[in-house]
Symmetry: C2
Subunit: 218 residues, 2 copies
Protein backbone atom coordinates (compact mmCIF):
# COMPACT_ATOMS: atom_id res chain seq x y z
CA UNK A 1 0.00 0.00 0.00
CA UNK A 2 1.21 3.46 -0.87
CA UNK A 3 2.69 5.34 2.05
CA UNK A 4 3.11 9.10 2.41
CA UNK A 5 6.71 9.70 3.45
CA UNK A 6 8.18 13.06 4.35
CA UNK A 7 11.84 13.03 3.37
CA UNK A 8 13.68 16.22 4.23
CA UNK A 9 17.01 17.63 5.40
CA UNK A 10 17.19 19.85 8.45
CA UNK A 11 19.82 21.59 10.50
CA UNK A 12 20.41 20.49 14.08
CA UNK A 13 18.49 23.58 15.13
CA UNK A 14 15.50 22.46 13.07
CA UNK A 15 15.56 24.60 9.95
CA UNK A 16 14.90 23.50 6.38
CA UNK A 17 16.12 26.82 4.97
CA UNK A 18 18.22 29.67 6.27
CA UNK A 19 17.32 33.31 6.65
CA UNK A 20 16.57 35.55 3.67
CA UNK A 21 15.87 33.07 0.85
CA UNK A 22 16.10 34.72 -2.57
CA UNK A 23 16.24 33.83 -6.25
CA UNK A 24 20.02 33.79 -6.01
CA UNK A 25 20.03 31.79 -2.77
CA UNK A 26 16.79 29.80 -2.68
CA UNK A 27 17.72 27.91 0.49
CA UNK A 28 18.60 31.09 2.36
CA UNK A 29 21.80 31.89 4.21
CA UNK A 30 23.70 28.68 4.91
CA UNK A 31 20.88 26.55 3.52
CA UNK A 32 23.20 24.71 1.13
CA UNK A 33 25.01 23.32 4.17
CA UNK A 34 21.97 21.13 4.85
CA UNK A 35 22.42 19.33 1.55
CA UNK A 36 26.18 18.92 1.23
CA UNK A 37 25.85 15.27 2.19
CA UNK A 38 23.48 14.77 -0.76
CA UNK A 39 25.53 16.80 -3.25
CA UNK A 40 28.44 14.44 -2.52
CA UNK A 41 26.43 11.22 -2.99
CA UNK A 42 26.58 9.23 -6.20
CA UNK A 43 22.85 8.48 -6.31
CA UNK A 44 21.89 12.13 -5.85
CA UNK A 45 24.29 13.19 -8.60
CA UNK A 46 22.99 10.53 -10.96
CA UNK A 47 19.39 11.66 -10.45
CA UNK A 48 20.52 15.20 -11.27
CA UNK A 49 22.37 14.11 -14.43
CA UNK A 50 25.79 14.54 -12.84
CA UNK A 51 28.71 12.14 -12.79
CA UNK A 52 30.84 11.01 -9.88
CA UNK A 53 30.07 11.13 -6.21
CA UNK A 54 30.55 8.72 -3.36
CA UNK A 55 28.88 5.33 -3.12
CA UNK A 56 28.42 5.39 0.63
CA UNK A 57 25.68 4.88 3.20
CA UNK A 58 24.24 8.31 2.39
CA UNK A 59 24.05 7.42 -1.28
CA UNK A 60 22.22 4.19 -0.39
CA UNK A 61 19.63 6.09 1.64
CA UNK A 62 18.93 8.35 -1.34
CA UNK A 63 18.89 5.39 -3.75
CA UNK A 64 16.36 3.63 -1.51
CA UNK A 65 14.11 6.67 -1.54
CA UNK A 66 14.35 7.14 -5.29
CA UNK A 67 13.49 3.48 -5.90
CA UNK A 68 10.50 3.60 -3.56
CA UNK A 69 9.02 6.86 -4.82
CA UNK A 70 6.22 6.86 -7.40
CA UNK A 71 5.11 10.46 -7.04
CA UNK A 72 6.15 13.64 -5.22
CA UNK A 73 4.18 16.38 -3.45
CA UNK A 74 5.68 19.80 -2.76
CA UNK A 75 4.63 23.35 -1.98
CA UNK A 76 4.66 26.24 -4.43
CA UNK A 77 7.51 27.94 -2.61
CA UNK A 78 9.71 24.88 -2.89
CA UNK A 79 8.79 24.54 -6.56
CA UNK A 80 9.63 28.06 -7.71
CA UNK A 81 10.41 30.29 -4.75
CA UNK A 82 7.68 32.57 -6.00
CA UNK A 83 4.13 33.45 -5.08
CA UNK A 84 1.12 34.95 -6.80
CA UNK A 85 0.35 34.71 -10.52
CA UNK A 86 2.58 32.42 -12.60
CA UNK A 87 3.24 35.02 -15.29
CA UNK A 88 5.13 37.09 -12.72
CA UNK A 89 7.15 34.14 -11.38
CA UNK A 90 10.73 34.10 -12.74
CA UNK A 91 11.03 30.37 -11.91
CA UNK A 92 7.57 29.38 -13.15
CA UNK A 93 8.93 26.12 -14.59
CA UNK A 94 10.68 25.22 -11.32
CA UNK A 95 14.28 25.46 -10.17
CA UNK A 96 15.60 22.45 -12.02
CA UNK A 97 15.74 23.27 -15.76
CA UNK A 98 14.26 21.12 -18.54
CA UNK A 99 15.13 17.75 -16.97
CA UNK A 100 14.25 17.93 -13.27
CA UNK A 101 15.65 15.28 -10.92
CA UNK A 102 12.31 13.70 -9.97
CA UNK A 103 11.54 11.50 -13.00
CA UNK A 104 8.01 10.85 -11.67
CA UNK A 105 4.77 12.89 -11.48
CA UNK A 106 5.11 15.85 -9.08
CA UNK A 107 2.10 17.57 -7.53
CA UNK A 108 2.60 21.20 -6.58
CA UNK A 109 0.26 22.73 -4.02
CA UNK A 110 -0.67 26.25 -5.08
CA UNK A 111 -3.51 28.76 -5.17
CA UNK A 112 -2.90 29.49 -8.86
CA UNK A 113 -4.23 27.01 -11.43
CA UNK A 114 -2.40 26.19 -14.67
CA UNK A 115 -1.80 23.38 -17.13
CA UNK A 116 0.39 20.44 -16.19
CA UNK A 117 4.00 20.94 -17.27
CA UNK A 118 5.52 17.99 -19.11
CA UNK A 119 9.25 18.07 -18.56
CA UNK A 120 12.03 15.83 -19.86
CA UNK A 121 13.05 12.61 -18.15
CA UNK A 122 9.62 11.57 -16.91
CA UNK A 123 8.93 14.52 -14.59
CA UNK A 124 5.53 16.21 -14.80
CA UNK A 125 4.42 19.14 -12.64
CA UNK A 126 0.69 19.09 -11.91
CA UNK A 127 -0.63 22.10 -10.01
CA UNK A 128 -3.23 21.33 -7.38
CA UNK A 129 -5.39 24.17 -6.11
CA UNK A 130 -7.86 22.36 -3.85
CA UNK A 131 -5.71 21.64 -0.85
CA UNK A 132 -3.20 19.22 0.58
CA UNK A 133 -5.58 16.24 0.78
CA UNK A 134 -6.40 16.57 -2.91
CA UNK A 135 -2.71 16.84 -3.79
CA UNK A 136 -1.93 13.69 -1.84
CA UNK A 137 -4.90 11.81 -3.28
CA UNK A 138 -3.75 12.63 -6.80
CA UNK A 139 -0.18 11.68 -5.95
CA UNK A 140 -1.29 8.36 -4.43
CA UNK A 141 -3.23 7.54 -7.60
CA UNK A 142 -0.18 8.39 -9.72
CA UNK A 143 2.27 6.45 -7.53
CA UNK A 144 0.77 3.03 -8.21
CA UNK A 145 2.37 0.52 -5.84
CA UNK A 146 5.12 2.93 -4.89
CA UNK A 147 5.24 5.60 -2.20
CA UNK A 148 4.42 9.29 -2.27
CA UNK A 149 7.34 11.47 -1.19
CA UNK A 150 6.49 14.69 0.58
CA UNK A 151 9.44 16.86 -0.33
CA UNK A 152 8.61 20.08 1.55
CA UNK A 153 8.67 22.84 2.35
CA UNK A 154 7.85 23.25 6.00
CA UNK A 155 4.33 24.50 5.40
CA UNK A 156 3.10 21.40 3.54
CA UNK A 157 4.81 19.10 6.04
CA UNK A 158 3.06 20.89 8.88
CA UNK A 159 -0.28 20.71 7.07
CA UNK A 160 0.15 16.94 6.67
CA UNK A 161 1.13 16.41 10.30
CA UNK A 162 -1.79 18.44 11.56
CA UNK A 163 -4.19 16.54 9.32
CA UNK A 164 -2.77 13.16 10.40
CA UNK A 165 -1.88 12.28 6.80
CA UNK A 166 1.74 11.27 7.21
CA UNK A 167 2.79 7.61 7.42
CA UNK A 168 6.54 8.02 7.79
CA UNK A 169 9.10 10.70 8.42
CA UNK A 170 12.72 10.51 7.27
CA UNK A 171 14.78 13.39 8.61
CA UNK A 172 18.35 13.96 7.49
CA UNK A 173 19.99 15.93 10.30
CA UNK A 174 22.98 17.92 9.05
CA UNK A 175 25.66 18.79 11.65
CA UNK A 176 25.01 22.49 11.28
CA UNK A 177 23.45 25.25 13.35
CA UNK A 178 21.84 27.71 10.93
CA UNK A 179 20.95 30.15 13.69
CA UNK A 180 17.64 31.08 12.06
CA UNK A 181 15.38 30.44 9.10
CA UNK A 182 12.35 28.34 8.27
CA UNK A 183 11.60 25.88 11.06
CA UNK A 184 10.41 22.47 9.87
CA UNK A 185 8.05 21.83 12.74
CA UNK A 186 7.73 25.24 14.40
CA UNK A 187 5.00 25.29 17.05
CA UNK A 188 2.75 22.76 15.32
CA UNK A 189 -0.09 22.97 17.78
CA UNK A 190 -0.75 19.23 17.79
CA UNK A 191 -1.09 17.10 20.92
CA UNK A 192 2.12 15.34 21.99
CA UNK A 193 2.58 12.37 19.66
CA UNK A 194 4.87 9.37 20.09
CA UNK A 195 6.53 8.13 16.93
CA UNK A 196 8.09 4.72 16.27
CA UNK A 197 11.80 5.13 15.63
CA UNK A 198 12.43 2.56 12.92
CA UNK A 199 15.99 3.25 11.74
CA UNK A 200 19.09 5.35 12.21
CA UNK A 201 21.84 5.53 9.60
CA UNK A 202 24.79 7.73 10.52
CA UNK A 203 27.73 9.06 8.55
CA UNK A 204 30.13 11.90 9.39
CA UNK A 205 28.12 14.16 7.07
CA UNK A 206 24.57 13.53 8.26
CA UNK A 207 22.35 11.39 10.47
CA UNK A 208 19.31 9.82 8.83
CA UNK A 209 16.47 9.33 11.33
CA UNK A 210 13.43 7.38 10.25
CA UNK A 211 10.08 7.20 12.05
CA UNK A 212 6.68 5.65 11.57
CA UNK A 213 3.83 8.00 12.49
CA UNK A 214 1.06 6.11 14.30
CA UNK A 215 -2.46 6.43 12.97
CA UNK A 216 -4.10 9.37 14.70
CA UNK A 217 -7.72 9.62 15.68
CA UNK A 218 -8.67 13.06 14.47
Amino acid sequence: MTRLICDISISLDGFVAGLNPSLEQPLGEGGDLLHEWAFAAQSWRESHGLEGGEKNADSEVIEESISATGAVVMGRRMFSGGEGAWENDPRARGWWGDDPPFHVPVFVLTHHPRETLIMQGGTTFTHVTDGIRAAIDQARAAAGDKDVLLAGGASVVQQCLKAGLLDELQIHVAPVLLGGGTSLFDQLGIEPLRLDATRVVASPSVTHLRFRVPAQTT
Copy 2:
Protein backbone atom coordinates in the same frame (compact mmCIF):
# COMPACT_ATOMS: atom_id res chain seq x y z
CA MET B 1 41.35 20.06 29.90
CA THR B 2 37.86 20.75 31.17
CA ARG B 3 35.27 20.89 28.43
CA LEU B 4 31.84 22.55 28.58
CA ILE B 5 29.32 19.99 27.35
CA CYS B 6 25.65 20.64 26.83
CA ASP B 7 23.78 17.40 27.51
CA ILE B 8 20.05 17.64 26.98
CA SER B 9 16.99 15.72 25.75
CA ILE B 10 14.78 17.18 23.05
CA SER B 11 11.76 16.16 21.07
CA LEU B 12 12.09 15.59 17.34
CA ASP B 13 10.43 18.97 16.88
CA GLY B 14 13.13 20.60 18.98
CA PHE B 15 11.54 21.24 22.36
CA VAL B 16 13.11 20.71 25.79
CA ALA B 17 9.77 21.21 27.55
CA GLY B 18 6.14 21.10 26.50
CA LEU B 19 3.54 23.83 26.71
CA ASN B 20 2.31 25.20 30.03
CA PRO B 21 4.98 24.11 32.52
CA SER B 22 3.73 24.28 36.11
CA LEU B 23 4.69 23.18 39.61
CA GLU B 24 2.66 20.01 39.06
CA GLN B 25 4.10 19.42 35.59
CA PRO B 26 7.49 21.12 35.48
CA LEU B 27 8.35 19.80 32.01
CA GLY B 28 5.06 20.97 30.54
CA GLU B 29 2.53 18.96 28.57
CA GLY B 30 4.15 15.79 27.28
CA GLY B 31 7.57 16.85 28.57
CA ASP B 32 8.05 13.60 30.50
CA LEU B 33 8.02 11.78 27.16
CA LEU B 34 11.44 13.31 26.41
CA HIS B 35 12.99 11.53 29.38
CA GLU B 36 11.33 8.10 29.35
CA TRP B 37 14.53 6.61 27.91
CA ALA B 38 16.44 7.94 30.92
CA PHE B 39 13.82 6.91 33.52
CA ALA B 40 14.21 3.32 32.23
CA ALA B 41 18.01 3.28 32.40
CA GLN B 42 19.88 1.66 35.27
CA SER B 43 22.51 4.41 35.56
CA TRP B 44 19.91 7.19 35.69
CA ARG B 45 17.96 5.33 38.36
CA GLU B 46 21.06 4.70 40.43
CA SER B 47 22.01 8.41 40.35
CA HIS B 48 18.49 9.17 41.59
CA GLY B 49 18.67 6.60 44.39
CA LEU B 50 16.35 4.17 42.62
CA GLU B 51 16.80 0.47 42.00
CA GLY B 52 16.38 -1.51 38.81
CA GLY B 53 16.41 -0.28 35.27
CA GLU B 54 17.95 -1.53 32.08
CA LYS B 55 21.68 -1.86 31.49
CA ASN B 56 21.58 -0.91 27.85
CA ALA B 57 23.27 1.50 25.44
CA ASP B 58 21.21 4.38 26.84
CA SER B 59 22.36 3.55 30.35
CA GLU B 60 25.97 3.54 29.16
CA VAL B 61 25.59 7.00 27.62
CA ILE B 62 24.32 8.34 30.94
CA GLU B 63 27.01 6.51 32.89
CA GLU B 64 29.66 8.01 30.64
CA SER B 65 28.31 11.50 31.26
CA ILE B 66 28.10 10.99 35.03
CA SER B 67 31.68 9.73 35.16
CA ALA B 68 33.00 12.64 33.11
CA THR B 69 31.13 15.41 34.95
CA GLY B 70 32.85 17.38 37.70
CA ALA B 71 30.37 20.26 37.93
CA VAL B 72 27.00 21.29 36.51
CA VAL B 73 25.61 24.62 35.29
CA MET B 74 21.87 25.23 34.99
CA GLY B 75 19.39 28.08 34.78
CA ARG B 76 17.14 29.22 37.61
CA ARG B 77 14.04 27.97 35.81
CA MET B 78 15.46 24.49 35.52
CA PHE B 79 16.53 24.58 39.16
CA SER B 80 13.20 25.53 40.72
CA GLY B 81 10.67 26.44 38.04
CA GLY B 82 10.30 29.78 39.80
CA GLU B 83 11.38 33.35 39.28
CA GLY B 84 11.87 36.43 41.42
CA ALA B 85 12.76 36.42 45.10
CA TRP B 86 13.68 33.07 46.68
CA GLU B 87 11.34 33.51 49.64
CA ASN B 88 8.40 33.33 47.25
CA ASP B 89 9.68 30.28 45.37
CA PRO B 90 7.93 27.05 46.45
CA ARG B 91 10.84 24.97 45.10
CA ALA B 92 13.59 27.20 46.43
CA ARG B 93 15.74 24.14 47.29
CA GLY B 94 15.31 22.64 43.80
CA TRP B 95 13.09 19.90 42.43
CA TRP B 96 15.06 16.97 43.74
CA GLY B 97 14.60 16.75 47.51
CA ASP B 98 17.40 16.49 50.08
CA ASP B 99 19.65 14.23 47.99
CA PRO B 100 19.68 15.59 44.42
CA PRO B 101 20.98 13.37 41.62
CA PHE B 102 24.02 15.48 40.73
CA HIS B 103 26.53 14.56 43.47
CA VAL B 104 28.86 17.38 42.33
CA PRO B 105 28.85 21.19 42.67
CA VAL B 106 25.99 22.78 40.71
CA PHE B 107 26.05 26.43 39.65
CA VAL B 108 22.64 28.03 39.20
CA LEU B 109 22.41 31.16 37.06
CA THR B 110 20.02 33.64 38.67
CA HIS B 111 19.44 37.34 39.31
CA HIS B 112 18.78 36.69 43.01
CA PRO B 113 21.79 36.14 45.31
CA ARG B 114 21.74 33.74 48.25
CA GLU B 115 23.99 31.41 50.23
CA THR B 116 25.22 28.15 48.73
CA LEU B 117 22.94 25.22 49.58
CA ILE B 118 24.76 22.15 50.88
CA MET B 119 22.65 19.13 50.05
CA GLN B 120 23.14 15.44 50.80
CA GLY B 121 25.18 13.13 48.58
CA GLY B 122 27.79 15.67 47.49
CA THR B 123 25.51 18.09 45.68
CA THR B 124 25.92 21.81 46.36
CA PHE B 125 23.89 24.58 44.73
CA THR B 126 25.86 27.80 44.29
CA HIS B 127 23.88 30.74 42.95
CA VAL B 128 25.71 32.90 40.46
CA THR B 129 24.37 36.37 39.76
CA ASP B 130 27.04 37.84 37.47
CA GLY B 131 26.24 36.06 34.24
CA ILE B 132 26.84 32.88 32.31
CA ARG B 133 30.60 33.36 31.88
CA ALA B 134 31.05 33.71 35.62
CA ALA B 135 28.92 30.62 36.24
CA ILE B 136 31.00 28.60 33.82
CA ASP B 137 34.28 29.91 35.20
CA GLN B 138 33.24 28.87 38.70
CA ALA B 139 32.09 25.48 37.45
CA ARG B 140 35.36 24.92 35.57
CA ALA B 141 37.31 25.68 38.71
CA ALA B 142 35.16 23.24 40.70
CA ALA B 143 35.31 20.49 38.07
CA GLY B 144 39.03 19.87 38.37
CA ASP B 145 40.11 17.55 35.56
CA LYS B 146 36.53 16.62 34.74
CA ASP B 147 34.01 18.29 32.46
CA VAL B 148 31.35 20.89 33.12
CA LEU B 149 27.88 19.72 32.14
CA LEU B 150 25.48 22.37 30.91
CA ALA B 151 22.14 20.88 31.88
CA GLY B 152 19.72 23.52 30.56
CA GLY B 153 17.31 25.02 30.14
CA ALA B 154 17.10 26.44 26.68
CA SER B 155 17.98 29.97 27.72
CA VAL B 156 21.39 29.15 29.20
CA VAL B 157 22.22 26.85 26.29
CA GLN B 158 21.43 29.67 23.87
CA GLN B 159 23.51 32.12 25.89
CA CYS B 160 26.48 29.74 25.73
CA LEU B 161 26.12 29.14 22.00
CA LYS B 162 25.86 32.86 21.26
CA ALA B 163 28.93 33.55 23.38
CA GLY B 164 30.93 30.75 21.73
CA LEU B 165 31.48 29.05 25.09
CA LEU B 166 30.35 25.52 24.27
CA ASP B 167 32.87 22.76 23.46
CA GLU B 168 30.48 19.87 22.85
CA LEU B 169 26.82 19.20 22.42
CA GLN B 170 25.14 15.90 23.24
CA ILE B 171 21.51 15.87 22.16
CA HIS B 172 19.21 12.99 23.07
CA VAL B 173 16.44 13.03 20.45
CA ALA B 174 13.27 11.38 21.73
CA PRO B 175 10.91 9.94 19.08
CA VAL B 176 8.16 12.36 20.02
CA LEU B 177 6.51 15.41 18.50
CA LEU B 178 5.49 17.70 21.35
CA GLY B 179 3.68 20.11 19.06
CA GLY B 180 4.81 23.15 21.04
CA GLY B 181 6.78 24.29 24.04
CA THR B 182 10.23 25.65 24.80
CA SER B 183 12.49 25.39 21.76
CA LEU B 184 16.10 24.44 22.56
CA PHE B 185 17.68 26.49 19.80
CA ASP B 186 14.86 28.77 18.68
CA GLN B 187 16.06 31.48 16.28
CA LEU B 188 19.52 31.79 17.82
CA GLY B 189 20.66 34.65 15.63
CA ILE B 190 24.17 33.27 15.15
CA GLU B 191 25.89 32.88 11.79
CA PRO B 192 25.58 29.40 10.24
CA LEU B 193 28.01 27.15 12.08
CA ARG B 194 29.28 23.71 11.05
CA LEU B 195 29.69 21.21 13.86
CA ASP B 196 31.78 18.04 13.90
CA ALA B 197 29.49 15.04 14.31
CA THR B 198 31.54 12.80 16.57
CA ARG B 199 29.16 9.98 17.54
CA VAL B 200 25.68 8.55 17.13
CA VAL B 201 24.26 5.95 19.52
CA ALA B 202 20.77 4.74 18.70
CA SER B 203 18.22 2.69 20.60
CA PRO B 204 14.49 2.27 19.99
CA SER B 205 13.85 4.83 22.75
CA VAL B 206 16.18 7.64 21.76
CA THR B 207 19.00 8.69 19.46
CA HIS B 208 22.08 10.21 21.08
CA LEU B 209 23.80 12.70 18.77
CA ARG B 210 27.16 14.09 19.80
CA PHE B 211 28.96 17.06 18.26
CA ARG B 212 32.11 19.06 18.78
CA VAL B 213 31.59 22.80 18.43
CA PRO B 214 34.51 24.41 16.59
CA ALA B 215 36.21 27.37 18.21
CA GLN B 216 34.49 30.53 17.02
CA THR B 217 36.14 33.84 16.35
CA THR B 218 33.86 36.27 18.11
